[in-house]
Symmetry: C2
Subunit: 132 residues, 2 copies
Amino acid sequence: MHSSTVAVEYSISDLCKEFDITTRTIRHYEDLGLLNPSRRGQSRVYTPSDRTRLRLILRGKRLGLSLEDSRQIIDMYEPGKTNIDQLNTLIDAIRVQRTKLNQQLDDISKLLKDLNDAEANCVIALKTNGQN
Amino acid sequence: MHSSTVAVEYSISDLCKEFDITTRTIRHYEDLGLLNPSRRGQSRVYTPSDRTRLRLILRGKRLGLSLEDSRQIIDMYEPGKTNIDQLNTLIDAIRVQRTKLNQQLDDISKLLKDLNDAEANCVIALKTNGQN
DNA sequence: TATGACGTTTACGTCAACGTCAACTTTGTA
DNA sequence: TACAAAGTTGACGTTGACGTAAACGTCATA
């Protein structure tokens, strides 16, 4: 591999541009312990792994998770301090999250159905009201 | 139908108990114009329709929608003041929401997959670490 | 060298979505 | 009739998730 390899580090503004967020947001996530970039001098330097964490955080946001929830979920991916109790706790937490997500799936399918109905009503109203 | 018909009205505390929320929350929704119960004297009286609206609001919350978003969506179900421009605006809004929901579906399926992987790792770690 | 682009910390501001009193009325019921 | 239960309207407080502004450091380059 000699030509186009993937970037191995990112500046804060790189990530801001890529994900369309502000530096304030990223630093805020760091304040909450969701990100821990290394430093070159005083500037933050982000690895691909940091970038992945950020992507996960934003995905969580789109799902309506709190930042605290996202932090927990992200920590699930890194076994790290693996004590047996912690593993069982983790498995429980995973199941809780899964339950919530299945509830969301159900909510979404119902909402999509409602939207379909609403749209159909609009179309009908358009047909009867005007010849547009 | 002479025996058990469905309730035709609810007090504020009826709804609180049913949906496990506080009176403050319900009144807050009213302040924002999401609910418009009638009154008997000074007390609020909720119809099944009001109850449905509340259910929709809470569903929206679980999906990460703002109350303002929910208000818009709920208003979609009630054509009411149907001017052609409004209908087209409505259809656009419906499509925007549908796009967001499809994004959520994608996010959820990825997150569920991640959770499966995380759980599998936990199980493996449990097997290798202890004989529990 | 100075001007701009990019970075930093600190700290107060804001907005949504309620929580939490306080002070009061209305309605059974003991 | 008195008292508890459930209702009401303010109005200020809190939390999460950032926005915003001030004051400053570090380079590249014109």
